[in-house]
C-alpha cells in the first residue's frame, strides 16, 4: 500500500533527524475531539495536518430516516451549546418547503433565543480559549457567568442545554410570564460582567504580547480560503449574515457587525467578545419591539410532507459563522437529502496555513481562535 492510500498520520515518511512529529490529540488537553499532526523543527512548526472525524455521527444520513419534526432533537446535537442557531436554518428551510408563515411574535422570540444561545456558546468558547492560554480565571468566570443565560433559556424552553425549542411554524412554547423583566435584568448584568473581562483578559499585556501578530490571516487569504464568521470579520471583511442576508426580523433591528483589520489571533479572539456585547444590544432591542401578545406557533398538520420535488437552502449567522442547511424534498414525510454546511469546518481549513512557521507555543491560541467546534465539523 502506498502512502497516498493511508490515512494521514499513518503514512510512512522519510526520516528526518531534525523534524519531530507530534500527535496533538485526540487524547490531549489542547486538542478537543480531533487530532492535529504537527511537525516541529526545534520550536517551529514546519507542517500541520488537522485530522477531524473522531466524533462523526452521521447526522445528515440520520435526517433521511426521520420526518421533519423528529429531526429537530437530533439535528441540534452537533453544537449543543448553540442548539437554537444550529436548528435555525433547518427550521427556516422546512417552513419554506411546507409554505408556512410565522407570526411576528414568534420571529422575535426566535431572535432572542438565537442571540442568547450565541452568547452561551461564545462564553464556553471563551472559557476554553482562556485555559488554552493558561489563564485559569478566564476559564472559571465565563463558565460561571454562562449560567445566567442558561437559566433564561431554561425558563423559556425547559431544558438547560439541548432546547429543541425552534419548530417549523414558530417556537414550541410561548415565553413564561414576566419574562421580559427577568431577561432584561439578567442581560444587563451579563453585559456589565463581560465588560469586566477586558480588564483581566483582553487588556492583559501578556495576552496581547502573546497573541498579537501571531497566525495572521490576510484579507485576501481569508476570502480565498472561505472562512466565515468571526474569523472572516477579524480579517477585515465586513460580512455578517444578520446584516447581509437578514432573516426573520433582523432587518427591523439595528445590528452592528464588528470588524477588525489585523487578522491575528488577538483580533480573532476579540471579535466574539464584541459580538456578545452586540448580542446583548440586539436582545434589548428585540425585547422592546416584540409584540406583547399573540400566537407563537402555527398549527401544523401531523406528519407534514414536502410539496413535490423541491429543494431549499437557508443559512444563518451562528456563533461560528455562516451555518447553511440544504434540504431536498421528494414529497415524502422525511427529507430526501439534508446537508449541513457548517462554519467550523470552513474555519478549520485555515489552520495549516496559519500554523506554518509559527512557534509551538502559539498552537493552542491560533487553533482555538479559529472559533472551531470539533463536533460540529464532524457532524
Amino acid at each position: 500500500m502506498t502512502n497516498e492510500f493511508l490515512p494521514p498520520g499513518l503514512a510512512l515518511q522519510k526520516a528526518d533527524e531534525k523534524i519531530m512529529t507530534l500527535n496533538v490529540g485526540p487524547q490531549h488537553p489542547g486538542s478537543g475531539h480531533m487530532r492535529i499532526i504537527v511537525q516541529i523543527d526545534g520550536d517551529y512548526i514546519v507542517a500541520c495536518d488537522p485530522d477531524p472525524g473522531y466524533v462523526h455521527r452521521g447526522e445528515e444520513k440520520m435526517a433521511e430516516y426521520r420526518n421533519y419534526i423528529t429531526n429537530i432533537p437530533h439535528l441540534e446535537r452537533p453544537v449543543i451549546h448553540d442548539s437554537c442557531n444550529v436548528l435555525y436554518p433547518y427550521v427556516l428551510g422546512v417552513e419554506d418547503l411546507l409554505g408556512i408563515e410565522v407570526t411576528e411574535r414568534a420571529k422575535y422570540v426566535r431572535v432572542i433565543c438565537s442571540e442568547l444561545n450565541r452568547c452561551i456558546y461564545t462564553m464556553y468558547w471563551l472559557a476554553i480559549y482562556g485555559i488554552f492560554l493558561g489563564h485559569s480565571t478566564m476559564f472559571m468566570w465565563p463558565a460561571g457567568d454562562r449560567e445566567l443565560l442558561i437559566d433564561l433559556m431554561e425558563k423559556i424552553s425547559g431544558a438547560r442545554v439541548t432546547h429543541a425549542h425552534f419548530v417549523p411554524g414558530g417556537v414550541r412554547n410561548d415565553l413564561p410570564p414576566n419574562f421580559e423583566e427577568v431577561c432584561l435584568r439578567q442581560v444587563n448584568y451579563f453585559e456589565k460582567r463581560i465588560r469586566e473581562y477586558a480588564a483581566v483578559f483582553y487588556d492583559n499585556p501578556i495576552l496581547i504580547s502573546r497573541t498579537q501578530d501571531t497566525g495572521v490571516l490576510s484579507r485576501e487569504d481569508a476570502i480565498r480560503l472561505g472562512v466565515t464568521g468571526s474569523v472572516l470579520r477579524a480579517s477585515g471583511v465586513d460580512y455578517d449574515l444578520r446584516k447581509k442576508e437578514p432573516y426573520d426580523v433582523y432587518e427591523e433591528l439595528d445590528v452592528h457587525s464588528n470588524v477588525m483589520k489585523e487578522g491575528d489571533s488577538y483580533a480573532r479572539s476579540k471579535i466574539p467578545w464584541l459580538d456578545m456585547l452586540e448580542s446583548c444590544n440586539i436582545i434589548k432591542q428585540a425585547l422592546e419591539k416584540m409584540p406583547k401578545s399573540g400566537s407563537v406557533r402555527v398549527k401544523l398538520k401531523p406528519n407534514p410532507k414536502g410539496k413535490g420535488l423541491n429543494s431549499v437552502y437557508k443559512r444563518v449567522e451562528s456563533g461560528r459563522g455562516s451555518l447553511g442547511c440544504h434540504i431536498v424534498s421528494d414529497g415524502k414525510v422525511e427529507p430526501y437529502r439534508l446537508k449541513l454546511s457548517v462554519g467550523s469546518f470552513r474555519n478549520l481549513i485555515a489552520l495549516p496555513y496559519l500554523l506554518k512557521g509559527e512557534k509551538l507555543g502559539n498552537m493552542p491560541s491560533v487553533y482555538w481562535s479559529l472559533n472551531y467546534w470539533p463536533v460540529e465539523a464532524d457532524r
Partner: protein
Amino acid sequence: MSVIAPDFKFSKFIQSLISDVVWFVLIFSLIGFPIIMMVLFFIPMPVIDGELLTPFLAFTYLADPTRTLPIVQSFMMTDMFKIMAFPGFGFAALLAAGTIFVERKMLAKLQLRVGPFYCGKFEGILQLMGDGLKLISKEIIIPAKADKPIFWAAPVLFVASAAAFVALIPVAPGWVVADVDMGLLAVFAVIGFFPIVTILSAWSANSKFPFIGGIRALFQMVSFEIPLILSLLGVVMVTGTLNLSEIAASQSSFPWILFLPVGAIVFFITMLAELERIPFDLPEAESEIVAGWLTELSGMMYGLVQLGTYLKLYAFAALFVVLFLGGWNGPQIVPQFPMEIVTNGLELGPVTAKIGGLEPLLTELITPEMINGVLMFVLKTVGVIFFILLPRGVFPRIRVDMLLNLGWHKLIGLAFVNIFIALALVYAGVLGPGGLQ
C-alpha cells in the same frame, strides 16, 4: 441523622469504646507487659541525669511526665531533630501543606467558586490528605521504553534537592540545620541541581512531550539562574558575608529591600521562573505539551515531585525573606514568660505547684526571642508565598521566546543596575560590611 450510619447510637458507641479499652488493657498486661520486661532485662539501660534508666524509673515518668523535660530538651538540641522536625523537613512540609490549601482556596475565591469543600468538614481542610492517600494508592506506571533506574530516581532526587535547599534556611537565631559560612554559594549549588534532575527525568521517560517539557525547563532554569545569582550579589556586597544567618542578623534595624529594591524585584521574577509558576509555567504548559516533564510520572512519583515543588516554593520564599525582608528580625510581640512562677512554682494555698526541668528549657532553648523570631519569619514567608501564588489567577502563560528575551535582555541588565546601586551605597559610606556605617 447521618446518612452514612443510620443506626448510629452514641451510647452504643461509648459502650464499644469501653469494651475495646478493657480488652486492650487486659491483653497487654497479661501478654505484652511480661514480654517487654523480658526484653528490657537483656538491654543495657542509658544513664540520664546521673541516674540509670531502670524500668522503675521509666514508670515514674508515667506518674510525673515533667521528668521527661530534660530528655526532650536534649533531644531538641540534636541534629536529628533539626533535620526532621524543626527547622528542617517537618516544619517546611507543614508550611508547604498550608501553602497548597491557601492556594486552592484563594484561587477559588478569586475565580468565583468554592474550591475544596467537603473533605474534613471545615472548608475542605483535609483535602490534601485525601489527595495524598489517593496518590499513594495509585498504581505506578513506568513507560516500557523508559530508562528505569533514572526514571525511578528522578522524583526522589528532586525532593532531596528541595530538602537540601530547606536545610540552608535560618529560621531563628541559631535555628538552622546547616549553618555554613558559604551559605549563599551552597544555595546556588543546590539551585543548580534542579535543571539536572528535571532533564534527567524528562529524558529517561523516552517520550516526546516530557522531552520537550524538559528542554523548556532546562532553558528556563539555566537562563534565569544568571539574573538570580547576579541579583543576590548586591546583598553580598553590602553585608560582606555569604553566611545566611549573618545576612539575616545584619538587617536588625532595616531590611535590605529598602536599599536594593531593584535586586528584590529581579529576584522575585526569577524566583517565579525557577519555581515554574504562572506566568512562567512553560515546562508544564498543558495545552501545548500535556503536562510537560511530568507527563509520564504517575502515582506517588508525581506526588513526590509535587512535594518537592512546594518545598522549593517555601525555600525560595524563605530565601527572599532572609535576604531582603530581614529574616527573623521584627518588633517583639511575644511577651516575656513569667519566670518567677517557673522558678519558684505557683503557690496554691498549702501546695506549691512546680514543674522541674522547665526552667532550663525556657531559658536556653525556647526563649520568647526565639518564638518571636519564628513568628516574624513565618509571617513574612507567608506574605511572600501569597505574592508568589497571586499571578496564577491573573496572568496567562508566556511563550518561550518572550521568556528568554525577558531573562537575557531585561533581568540581567536590571541585576547589573542593582549591583551598581549596591556599589554606590558601599563607596558612599552609607552601607558597608556589617550594616549601616
